[in-house]
Amino acid sequence: MTSKARKSLICWGALSPIVVVILFPYATMLSTALKHKDEIFTFEQTWWPREFYLGNFADLLFERGFGQAIFNSLYISVGATLLSSAVAIPAAYALSRLRMPGKGAFRNYLLITQMISPIVLIIGLFRMFAYFGMINDPHALIIAHSAFYMAFAVWMLQSYFDTIPKDLEEAAWLDGASRTRAFISVFLPLCLPGVAVTALFTFVNSWNEYAMSLTMLRDASSQTAPVKIAFLTGTLYETEWNIIMAATLMATVPVAIIFASIQNYLVRGLSLGGVK
């Protein structure tokens, strides 16, 4: 056995307990979501479903309005991603490239906003959006999510922008490109991967957010997926775990795939400057 193979065995062996604990809920989700309701409430529990039953998914989508919840989540997450990118990209560019007074103060300000939990402010937030008549309005959440996830986006973008040498834009200016032209022809193509990763990260955060959505969206038809799923447990006479697990699976797997695809960049982005 090569030394790398032996090392791999040791590494995987050391990681195995935590890997099991992480994957255990997924196995549970999958196993339960594919079971018929009757099979859950028996005292003879098995991992393997007696038959692969897809009725839970159909039930969710057609009977319980889960499709609407997925759509609400999508609408809010896409909106929050666009809005936070729209304000974070210029701010990150200014922090990375321009000389201006109060740069440090702005950075500290962002840091402090990141440390204030939305839940500490939830009463104030609720009252503010109620004042504007925006309870049950997905746009309230788009605004709130953008504001809370913007700071992280600015950090990630700035650390990415900082890796693009200033020389390149200077060379473009000397080649005769205007500031705007240099931004579009030279800067933008180079920072696109960073912008994409940041946007996906914001999307995932917004998709997963629970407390603000729970408070601001009181109406069943406006609820997002995580809130809807949590409500499924509380409102029914008996908790239909098969339905809930099917819903969790549907809301989790696509986002987990997005996240897995960007995690490498995330590690790099954070080690570059996110924790500075």
């Binding site: 193979a5 090392k7 590494c11 990681l15 935590i18 604990v21 992480i22 809920p25 196995a27 549970t28 196993s31 339960t32 409430f41 529990q45 991992w47 809005l83 729209a86 304000v87 210029p90 701010a91 200014a94 490239r97 321009l98 000389r99 300000y109 840091l111 906003t113 440390m115 204030i116 939990s117 839940i119 402010l121 009463i123 009252r127 953008s146 809370f148 913007m150 200016w173 500031r179 705007t180 995932v204 997963n208 629970y210 407390a211 995580p226 799923i229 949590a230 447990t233 775990w241 697990m245 969790t248 989790t252 986002v255 897995a260 995690q263 490498n264 590690v267 954070l270 080690s271 500075k276």
Partner: protein, 308 residues
Amino acid sequence: MTASTTTLVPPSPRGLRLSKAIPGALLLILPSLLLSAMVIGYPIFDVLRMSVADVNRFGRVLGFAGFDNFLAAFTDPIFLQSAWQTLIWTFCVVGGTVLISVPIAIILNEEFYGRTVARTIILLPWAVSLAMTALVWRFVVNGDFGTLNTTLSALGLPFDNFPWLADASTAFGIEILVGILVSMPFTVTIIMGGLTAIPDTLYEASRMDGARGLQGFRHITLPLLRPFLQIAVVLNVIYVFNSFPIIWIMTNGGPANRTDILITYVYKQAFGFGKLGTAAAGSVVMFAMLLAFSVLYLYMTRSREVQQ
């Protein structure tokens, strides 16, 4: 040359003067400032105002109340109990997270077969909504139908129908474990960032100097990881202190408020009992505690920069 590392002057395309470009820079950060000032700034003001006001259950401010709301909170035994439980919760989750994250990050930093897969699995809990993680775990540890008891029984252990969440201490324990699980990916990521910043030549040099076994870890890894660990601890303290969904969904603070923390207490006061004033006062207390942490964080990053 030092000059080439200085910040750029924004040369404007049509020969504008520098002084005109500075408002341009401010214009770029203005949208972000406005957005966060509205969504974060105003609620801060509102919560502060309500904490010293007499507020009815519909949010109408009836008058000035001085410190009555704070008094009401501090004389409520459940508030004090929640505060104590918040400290236990934060300490256990953050401590546990850091303890397991360091070895995990070190392993993931090694070269081995399937490392990418391992990294993806370890970071997976980060991708999932806390609400859904909490929900799935609530089912996993369900006494009657949960897969945990199924599995433990299958292994021959006496956990048939053991009601994990019915007892306060096991419930809180499980919530802490779930808290550790979801805080771990972010922490591992930060520590991995710190590890990749340590050049291999340092370990080679320390071996030449006679370092053996774990001495390299003790004398090279830990000291150089320190700033990253500090940041991981402080950020985790803030996130965990504020963590709402795990406890809210798994036990709702029960049984008998034995798993309530400040954030669930505040939420119940506001949206359960309509005591907006008490809730606002509780928020202010939490806010003050967090501000202390924020200052600590800034202080720590500052001193790190000075060291460098």
